[in-house]
Symmetry: C2
Subunit: 296 residues, 2 copies
């Protein structure tokens, strides 16, 4: 088994290769002057199982196409099984048809990955796990939860006045588990869509946060609008501080600056999307352990 | 038969629909705050042959993915035959394996188009016509030459002192035909790669251009480096002026500004890539005529 780092995931691929003690294939990569990617795989993938690591943010479509091109080429070069590690899986938001004629991008991109020769796909905190498992029947699919890595990250840092908060009902199970593992209290906020202006708002909460240290844990942040509203509501409860923890940090830098200006103490994301402007929790060990158990 | 305009080709699709007197399907299109495309097809494609028009520059990977998503969704919605008009076909440059392990993006993207449900593909001045026709066996492929539209554009404008120039041997046939149709003299330049610095240069040419009006016709321009060198060489021949004509204008605006500063009189491209900074030759009629002959 060998590892190939996609252009978007060199660092995490390097870590996984070291943790699993696997050799890496090389990749010669450049952009042509019109922006197209040039890719050349170095080393021999013939009769080998190959792990490709390529997250699909930023530049979702480019990252995705590079992954398809690499996978198909590896198969042409004689690779045996291809395991794609996609720490953040893009185009998963449109997961079902809500109105007639809507493009359900999630299932189509999964089909494309399968037709490009990928045999197994490992991702982290996918947008909709149930739909994910029902797509692309020929593809072996695994959705890892980041929660163990987040719990690990926090377990030596907590003090007694901490409280774990989730931004909506959808986060209820994760929040309960997170709080239980750290023996801390928790609650989730209630989100609703205003019937008149269709804006997302939060109901006030009865939970007491006075002088508490809040960890607000969210799955994903894009425009940041909803997260900023949740933070605003929580700040009105006079906590001693707020730490914002998000799995997939898709938002622009300025969103996090705004959080800092509001008084958020720490902003932490997971390196499913590599960033150097905020603290990151490393998922490589979680992925390596899974690969070891499942494929080695 | 109905037409669907992809997000990158609304104007040209509109023209083709009018010329062929076909109804258009609607497309609801937006970008999510993380940059992903949302697509919803309006109208009924069931049991219809559908023409999708989507050029693949700028944003090659995004345009390509949108095309794949639309095509697959149209098939799911019951569309019969899908004819994709891709005025500029991206990722066609890597057309064969030059070194071991090289990703041959052209054949892979063609396979992706085929697996996404496209039955016929119509493009214009593809990078390598021979390879193009040998890709994706299940896909009906048509490569139109833009030359008739360029000849049409110039035929009422010429005066006797014009000369047609091609930038390299590859353009020889097109240049000869172009010149013959307009009853004008022509020649092609000789390009070579410097054996030491690997830079592209032009050999001096014996052809006389003194006080001539030159039309320099190129297939594609990206960084512009080669075209600017050809123009520099031709300017040394003291022509009365130079018009630069290019089919696929991928270059940045600043390249054309540099040409203007050098003294190039007119810069003209084809709307295979829509631009508003340079004069454009419209290919919609050429495409419409082809569709009419072949599919109606």
């Amino acid at each position: 088994m060998k590892i190939l780092a996609g252009p978007n995931s060199e660092k995490i691929a390097q870590k996984i290769a070291e943790q699993l003690n696997l050799n890496q294939l090389g990749l010669s990569y450049k952009l042509f002057s019109d922006g197209e990617s040039y890719l050349q795989i170095e080393g021999n993938p013939d009769k080998e199982d190959i792990i490709i690591v390529q997250t699909t943010f930023p530049n979702q479509e480019k990252s995705l196409l590079e992954l398809l091109l690499l996978s198909k080429t590896l198969k042409e070069l004689g690779a045996d099984k291809i395991i794609a590690i996609i720490p953040y899986l893009c185009y998963a938001r449109a997961d079902r048809k809500r109105v007639d004629g809507e493009v359900v991008s999630h299932s189509i991109t999964m089909d494309l990955l399968s037709t490009a020769g990928i045999d197994s796909l490992v991702t982290v905190n996918v947008h909709n796990s149930e739909v994910f498992h029902n797509t692309a029947k020929d593809l072996e699919k695994y959705n890892l939860s980041i929660l163990p890595a987040i719990i690990d990250y926090f377990k030596d840092k907590i003090t007694e006045d901490w409280v774990i908060v989730g931004p909506d009902k959808g986060s209820k199970e994760d929040i309960a588990l997170f709080a239980k593992e750290l023996s801390l209290p928790s609650f989730v906020l209630e989100k609703y869509r205003d019937p008149i202006d269709h804006d997302v708002r939060f109901k006030d909460t009865e939970y007491e946060c006075q002088s508490k240290s809040i960890i607000l844990l969210d799955d994903v942040i894009t425009s940041g609008g909803t997260a900023l509203k949740a933070i605003k509501l929580l700040l009105e409860k006079n906590p001693s501080n707020i730490q914002f923890v998000v799995v997939h940090a898709l938002a622009e830098n300025k969103v996090f600056n705004e959080m800092r200006e509001m008084g958020v103490k720490d902003i932490i994301s997971v390196n499913t999307i590599p960033r150097d402007d905020i603290e990151q929790i490393d998922i490589s060990l979680l992925i390596s352990k899974f690969i070891e158990e499942k494929f080695l």
